[in-house]
Structures are given as C-alpha cells and as structure tokens.
C-alpha cells in the first residue's frame, strides 16, 4: 500500500477546525521573523474519506487478538474485554485535566486508590505506585526503590544486581539504568536458578536479585525459599518481574513468597489492550520496607476525600509528568471488578491448564519441551531437532501465519536453542487450542514432506517474508516528500 504521504495532493482539505471567533493573528504578525517557520510542513493533504480508507485498509493488514489465537509467550495475549474500552471511552474521564483541583477529580482518584488496593491484595504487598508506564519502567522504578532503601540504610556498597540468564532483556537493562552492575546467573537443568552459582555470587555488594516466577521458561523457581532467605540475611532485596503473574493469581502471592517489590503488567495480566506496542502500565508494589521511598505523588484517602500526596520526604520522586497511564489503570480496574477474586483464580487455573494441555499434546505430535517438568501458564519448545532438518523456529513461525495463527515468541529465552515460547492464555477455547495443535502437527509433517512450504512462508499474507537484514544495513527511517 502507498504511504498516506504519497497519496497527498496539494490543496486538499481534511477535517476542519472549530471556527475562529476572534481576530486572526498570524505567527508572522505575532512573532519576530526569525521565530517563524519558513515552510509549511509537508503533511498529508487528503479528504476525510481517503484518510479513513487508508487506515481502515492498513488495519486490515494487521493481526490482533480479536482475529485469532495469539500465543505469544511472555506477553499474555488474552482477550481484551470490550467493556473496558466502553468505560474508558464513555465515562468522561478523557476530558479530565491532570492538574484539575482534586475535588473535581475525585472519581479519577478513587479509580487509582481502588486499583492500588486491589493490586496489593492480589500480590500480598503493602502499597503500590501506579505511575510506571510499562513493565520495564516498573522494573526501573523497583530497582530505584531498592537503591533508595540501601542508600537510606547507608549500604552504598551494594552495587550488584543478580539476574538469571533466563530473564527478560529489560531486567538487566533496567538495573543498569539504575546504576547497577549485572551479575548473570546460569540456569540449571530443571530451569531453576543454578543454586551453586547463586551461592557463589552472593556477597555483601549484592543489592538484590530480579526474578521472574514462574520464570520465562514457564517454571516455578524451586529454590525460592533459600534464595529469599540468603538474600534477606544480607539485607539484599528480591525483585519480582510480574510479567507472569497470570499463572498464580489466587494461588500464590509474590509478597508471601519472600519478594520485596514487584511490577505488574496491566497490559498482560489485567487484559488491557497492547495497542500494537503500548500504551501499557507497570504498577510497582512493595512491602513495608520500601513504602517510604515510593514515588510522589501517592494517592491517599482521608475524611471521605481522595488526594495526591506530595509530602513523602524519602520519595525517589516522580516518574512521569503526571500519574502514569491513567486510562490503562481504568481498564484494569474494570477487569478486576468484572472478575472478582473467584474470577481471577479461575483465570490462572485455566491459563495453566491450557498451557499444560497444549504442551502435552504438542509433545505427542513431535515437539520437544525444553524442560521435562509440568509448566505453569506457558512453556518453551526447543526446536533444534527441527532446525537440523532445515526448519528453524523462524520458519515454523512464519508458516503458522499461513493458518491465521499468530506465532509464539521466538528465540527467547536466550538459553533455549531455537526457542519457541508458547502462552495460550485462559481465554482460548478448546477448539482454538486443538486447531493450533493440529496445525503444528501438520507443519511438523511438512518439514519432512515439503520443507519449502516453511522456508518460504508466509504465502498468503499481504507481504512475503520481509528482509530484515536489508533494513538494518540500509535502513530508511522516513519518507521524504518529493522523493518520488
């Protein structure tokens, strides 16, 4: 499809602005010459109809959860309830300026207050900040809280963060942004943190560990008690990457497992849409120890009045211009209220059930899970046997596209060769799972019968396989008007 900029034609008018009801003052008149833009920016010039068609047709070249199965591991691509969108769109929150006097923003503050409470109850923590805009932002926040804690307690030597090799890339990247050195811990053959390596890495410089539990392998950490105890003995803290919280709601709470701080991904566990790459929301919950350092403002409730509290003397400060991705929080609260405690427990049950079911059936049709354990809400296949025959995980993935199925996460976690990380989520029906299994079985047969079908996939999408290498060797970052 042409770019919207290529469809532009000089002089066409789009949607009109409100009528100007005061005397027109041009920039030329209002400002000194050197301040005034010399040329109009070359933005598109099109009638409304053409813009609507362009983006409608572009949308038809995209794939979302509303179209079909999207077992993208670690991303919890569950159904995004439409009631979330309705409440966000219709209740007038959109018109609320963030600096509105508090008494005119009681509704918004109530939403934040109640969401914080609910997240704390679900996670077993004391307080939470809703400010972080995404998971990685939550990680950075959590790690800064650990840093503030150690600083406050005079432990400025603590400059090492332990990160398992199975961790998501954002974990080490966030810790580095918070000023830590990273020590990477290997995994053992059951997918746990290698406990010997952990013991070896432990010393007084260690500020903490960042764990995902269940891990990115979809496995619960079996040595969590020892890890928690030995870190806490040294006043090192445990960070919980909550990307996988969908596995354990109502069954286990990170706060009860020995963690000190965690982030949530509201855009994963709590059903808010991913928006093709955001906006998300990554609230951070903490136990008693870290409460004094929470970002300002905190949301409080006193005498029937909600308010923003900036008077938190040891706070690390604000994380965003305002209070985070409010409209995402709103959706998450709707979701939590729709489910209640029973519903959220059922979410985790069916998420784990679906993952185990798919794992078992894929094993039966010739795929190899990377670890010989029951999984939680997701699992990782090791496709190196297929790769030897010429069908890399990439090829299997592109072939899945031909069947109207979104591929799983590829090549992550890094420690599994030819990794294919499958997270079905709880909102998928038995038929959807069975269809996926059948398709995977067929693809496995195609590896022997007709390998080209895989290596040349996808066949019936709007484009054929795209050339990534060219894009990084000769990247083109923008359209230049007049270039055609």
């Amino acid at each position: 499809m042409k770019l919207i900029l290529e469809k532009s034609k000089p002089g066409r008018k789009g949607v009109g602005l409100p009528k100007l009801d005061v005397p027109r003052v041009s920039a030329k008149k209002a400002w000194p010459k050197e301040l005034v833009r010399s040329h109009q920016p070359k933005l598109p010039q099109l009638a409304e109809n053409d813009v609507v068609r362009h983006y409608t047709n572009l949308s038809r070249r995209n794939y979302g959860v509303d179209q079909g199965f999207y077992p993208l591991g670690s991303c919890t691509m569950k159904y995004n309830p439409k009631i979330n969108e309705e409440i966000a769109a219709n209740c007038g929150f959109g018109a609320l300026h963030p600096l509105m006097p508090e008494y005119l923003a009681q509704g918004a503050l109530e939403v934040m207050f109640r969401l914080e409470k609910a997240l704390c109850e679900i996670s077993g923590f004391k307080h939470a900040t809703l400010q972080p805009a995404a998971g990685a932002h939550g990680e950075l926040t959590g790690i800064m809280l650990i840093k503030a804690y150690h600083r406050y307690h005079g432990k400025t030597n603590k400059n090492v963060m332990l990160v398992p090799d199975s961790a998501h890339g954002t974990n080490p990247a966030s810790a580095v942004l918070a000023g830590y050195k990273i020590v990477e811990l290997p995994s053992d053959d059951r997918g746990n943190v290698d406990i010997q390596a952990f013991r070896g890495a432990l010393n007084d410089d260690v500020a903490g560990i960042m764990l995902t539990n269940p891990s990115t392998l979809g496995l619960l950490e079996e040595n969590i008690t020892e890890i928690a105890n030995s870190l806490h003995e040294r006043d090192a803290l445990l960070y919980y990457d909550g990307a996988n919280l969908n596995a354990v709601m109502g069954y286990a709470r990170p706060g009860d497992m020995g963690f000190d701080v965690m982030h949530f991904n509201l855009h994963k566990t709590f059903s808010t849409p991913h928006g093709g790459g955001g906006p998300g929301s990554g609230p951070v919950a903490v136990n008693e120890k870290l409460v004094p350092f929470l970002p300002v403002p905190t949301v409080e409730h006193r005498d029937d009045h909600y308010f923003l509290n900036y008077d938190v003397p040891m706070s690390i400060g604000p994380l965003m211009t305002y209070y985070g991705n409010f409209a995402v929080m709103l959706r998450a609260l709707v979701y939590i209220l729709r489910n209640g405690a029973e519903g959220l427990k059922r979410v985790s049950e069916d998420a784990v059930l679906n993952a185990n079911y798919v794992m078992q059936r894929l094993k039966e049709v010739g795929y190899t899970p990377s670890f010989p354990r029951r999984c939680m809400h997701e699992f990782v296949l090791n496709n190196s046997d297929k790769a030897k025959k010429g069908a890399r995980t990439l090829d299997i993935s592109k072939r899945l596209l031909d069947f109207g199925i979104h591929p799983a996460t590829m090549y992550f976690p890094l420690i599994v060769k030819e990794a294919m990380m499958i997270e079905p989520t709880e909102t998928e029906s038995r038929e959807t799972l069975d269809n996926f299994i059948e398709v995977m079985a067929q693809i496995n047969r195609e590896i022997d019968d007709n390998l080209d079908l895989l290596t040349q996939a996808p066949h019936n999408l709007p484009v054929k396989r795209l050339d990534d290498v060219r894009a990084s060797r000769e990247p083109v970052f923008r359209y230049k008007p007049g270039q055609e």
């Binding site: 499809m1 770019l3 919207i4 900029l5 949607v15 409100p18 005061v22 027109r24 920016p41 933005l43 983006y55 949308s59 995209n62 794939y63 179209q67 993208l72 691509m77 569950k78 009631i83 769109a89 007038g92 018109a95 609320l96 963030p98 509105m100 005119l104 009681q106 509704g107 918004a108 805009a133 995404a134 840093k147 890339g169 990247a173 991913h274 928006g275 093709g276 790459g277 955001g278 211009t321 991705n325 995402v328 489910n339 405690a341 059922r346 059930l353 679906n354 078992q360 059936r361 029951r374 992550f412 998928e428 040349q456 484009v463 054929k464 894009a471 990247p475 970052f477 923008r478 359209y479």
Partner: protein, 446 residues
C-alpha cells in the same frame, strides 16, 4: 466465569490428557506454606453493575461544562470524530508489538508514517516509534546525549523547562554518574548567555524547551552554535502544536528533539496515556533509545516495513542496550499519524495560528481587568503568565468554585516569588465567549 471458555467437562478432559486429577494439582509446585488464602476483592460484577459503578465514580469528577484554561503540559485540543473510529479498529489495538512483521504491516506502516511526519515537523532525519511521555523522553534524550558525547556527565538544564519535567529528570539522574546543572530563567525566557557561560568540556548536553513552560517561544540558533562549539548536544523539548508556526528545531540547530505529542490526540485522561516523541539527526541514530521502523522489501521485492537496528534494544543487547524501554505507546503513534492526516497540512498550520490568535485575544481581554497584567511581553504560543494583584491560588480557586472556570495554573508551587502569577492556556477549544466570561468573572473576583 467471566472471560474463560471451558465447561467443567472440558476441564476434566483436559486434566485427563495431562494426567492430573484436579485443577489444584497444576499448582503443586507452589510450596504449601506459600499458598494464598482466598483474595478479598470486590466483584465479580456484571457489565451492568460495572456501568453503574463507574457512572457513580465518574460523578466525582468535574462535569465537563467547566471552561478550561489549564495547560502546563496537557492540552485540550480538537479531536476529529474519525480518529477514534480508526484507532479502535481491533486489528490495531488488540495487537502486540509488531514482532511478526508480515502480520503487522498495518501497524508498522502507520508508525513509519508517524516517524516521517515527526521528522518533517521537527526538521530532523530520524524518529523513534515513541517514548512513554514528554518528561521521560527528555530524560532519555539527556542520557542519549551522554552516549553521543562520550565520557561527559554534565547536563545543563534550563529552568524554563516545565518543572514537572525537571522533577522527573531529578528522579532518574540520581542513579547515574550524571550531574544536572540548572540555569535560572530570565524574564520568562531562557538565559542564553548564562547557559553559554556554564558550558564546559564535561557538558554532554543543554536541555531547553520551546515554547517553554511560560509559553514563550525563542530562537535557539545562537545557543546551538555555542553548544556545538563545546561539542555538546542541544536537546529541545517542544510542544509539537507550535511547530505549525515555529521555526523547526532542526533549523535552529537542535541535535535531539523531544516532546509530548498528547496535544495531537487530546484526551487529557487525567495525565495519561500520552506519547513522548524523539527525533534526531541520522548520525546519532545508533545511540537512540526505543523502536525504529524502516522500509525494506519482501522476497518479491515489494515494499514492506520492519523494526530495525534492534541491536540497540534490550531484548538483544540486554544490559548494553540504549534504553530499557520495551512496550512503548505504540497505539498513540498511530493516533498521531491519523490525527495529522485528518487535519492535514493546512489544518495544522491553521491550528497553530488559531492558538496564537486565541491567546492574543485572551491576553487583551484579561489584562483589561483592573490590576491584571501580563508578566512578560515575550512572543508566546498558547500560554502566558498573568500577574494578579493578589494571591493567585485563592483567585483561581474561587473562580473554579463560583464560576466553573478553571483559570490556569497558579505558579506559587513551582517558582519562588510568583505567588500572584498564574499560567493561562488558551487553545482553539476556548470560545471567545468563554474568554470574555473569564475576564468578566476575574473582574468580579478581584
């Protein structure tokens, strides 16, 4: 249950396939003593009950008939009706980050279009796909500048920058080997000479904003020259709506341009989600944080779009990445592209002009009130500082309570010695009638 599908029978069959007896067996790996007891949460509520509950909650908010003169980083602008219809196409909003390019051409092309438009507006070569918001984008620009100007650790921060942004800079800066040097404003604008005098060999970047927090627009060409003499970078945080009238940051010599593109989509949503943007010069692209989309071709040679230069990013580079950002504000990049396409080139120019015109009218109307004056006469965009003859917080409070006019942001909380000053914002959404009523009400209250 609410959104799950399985019947009891199906669950039993599936458990059988796995070789388990009951659902709880799936959670056997959780040590007994860590098992959670039943959660105490409100709900479950039906859709109807949820609607009632949120209608009640929303009643606690301003009823929207308020007339709004509040800006300070979040702006009330016109949103075309077609916008949300397009953005809410579920193929877009229920998709993940476009990892599978062939199934994500819609999103990838839209973001490429967004990048192209942002480059065009700012006068730069490259844009990333988005940052969290205006403040975090500015911080990311600061540390990007440190990567560009290696081994330098000093960042000069103009105090005309939105204090909310500066507070955010302070939060993050404390964790790294990085010194923020603040240079005070001078009569509501950037003190170029003072900044020049502060420059040194350790300086990685100078951070300025345009229009600045007080609404003032300024030509930074001269400053850029000085900054470049010191081989430092000029980072400019802009309100992109002003770029319909303002000389581009590129022409002024900026090296990195950031800002808040919320004004391009507008629901103010109590502060978020908004969208930080960042553009820069091509030579710096490999130091840039965040996702970047590039044109490429498919096996048949047809044009297509993919994410590129991913070796900068955390999922490949981990602790050596240019940023930890992963999920960004993707849907809002699309929104910006749709918005700019809908209002179009001439609409965009007219928009800036309308904001200037409305602000001009408001300045005149409001300063006719006895005792009220403009703090500074500098050229400004859609905000300006008004000096009242008494404590501004009190006046603004009464104005809201008695007249349903949210008259602006009192500056006492943000700058010393500005107790009587208020930052007023006027956009194309403020009618002449609202402005006249504001002036009349102010007259009554002072």
């Amino acid at each position: 249950m609410t959104y799950t599908s399985h019947t009891d029978a199906e669950r039993r069959e599936m458990l059988e396939t796995i070789g388990l007896e009951k659902i709880e067996d799936l959670f056997a790996d959780i040590p007994k003593k860590m098992r959670a007891s039943a959660l105490e949460l409100d709900g479950p509520l039906s859709e109807t009950e949820v609607r009632r509950e949120f209608a009640r909650i929303a009643d606690g908010n301003c009823d929207m008939t308020c007339s709004l003169f509040l800006g300070a980083g979040s702006y009330h602008h016109f949103i075309p009706a077609a916008l949300s219809h397009l953005v809410m196409r579920s193929e877009f909003y229920t998709a993940y980050t476009p990892y599978q390019a062939e199934a994500s051409q819609g999103m990838l092309q839209s973001i490429y279009e967004y990048q192209s438009m942002m480059c065009e507006l700012t006068g730069m070569d490259v844009s990333n796909a988005s940052m969290y918001d205006g403040a975090t984008a500015l911080y990311e620009a600061a540390i990007m500048a440190m990567r560009c100007a290696r081994k330098r650790t000093r960042i000069i921060v103009d105090e005309c920058i939105n204090p909310l942004y500066r507070n955010v800079l302070a939060t993050y800066a404390g964790n790294l080997d990085l010194e923020l040097v603040h240079v005070p404003a001078k009569d509501g604008h950037t003190d170029v000479e003072a900044i020049a005098a502060t420059l040194d060999d350790k300086t990685a970047a100078v951070l300025v904003s345009n229009p600045n927090f007080f609404g003032v627009v300024q030509d930074f060409s001269e400053l850029a020259g000085k900054v470049h003499e010191y081989k430092a970078l000029l980072v400019m945080s802009v309100n992109p709506v002003a770029l319909g009238a303002l000389k581009t940051p590129g022409e002024m010599g900026a090296d990195i341009v950031t800002g808040e593109a919320q004004p391009f989509r507008s629901p103010m949503f109590f502060g978020g989600p908004y969208i930080g943007f960042m553009t820069t010069r091509e030579k710096y692209v490999r130091k840039m944080p965040g996702r970047i989309i590039s044109e490429t071709v498919d096996e048949d040679g047809e044009r297509g779009f993919v994410m590129t230069l991913q070796t900068r990013e955390q999922h490949i580079r981990r602790e050596k990445a240019t940023s930890n950002i992963c999920t960004n504000q993707g849907l809002l990049s699309l929104t910006v592209a749709v918005y700019l396409s809908l209002i179009g080139r001439d609409g965009f120019t007219a928009l800036a002009e309308q904001n200037i015109s409305k602000a001009a009218y408001a300045k005149k109307a409001l300063t006719k009130v006895e005792g009220v004056s403009l703090k500074w006469k500098s050229p400004a965009f859609n905000e300006f500082v008004l000096s009242l003859p008494q404590d501004a917080e009190k006046v603004i409070e009464n104005l809201t309570a008695e007249e349903k006019i949210v008259g602006g942001l009192p500056l006492k909380r943000y700058y010393e010695g500005m107790d009587n000053d208020v930052l007023v914002c006027v956009t194309e959404m403020n009618t002449r009638e609202q402005i006249d009523e504001y002036a009349a009400a102010l007259g009554r209250l002072i």
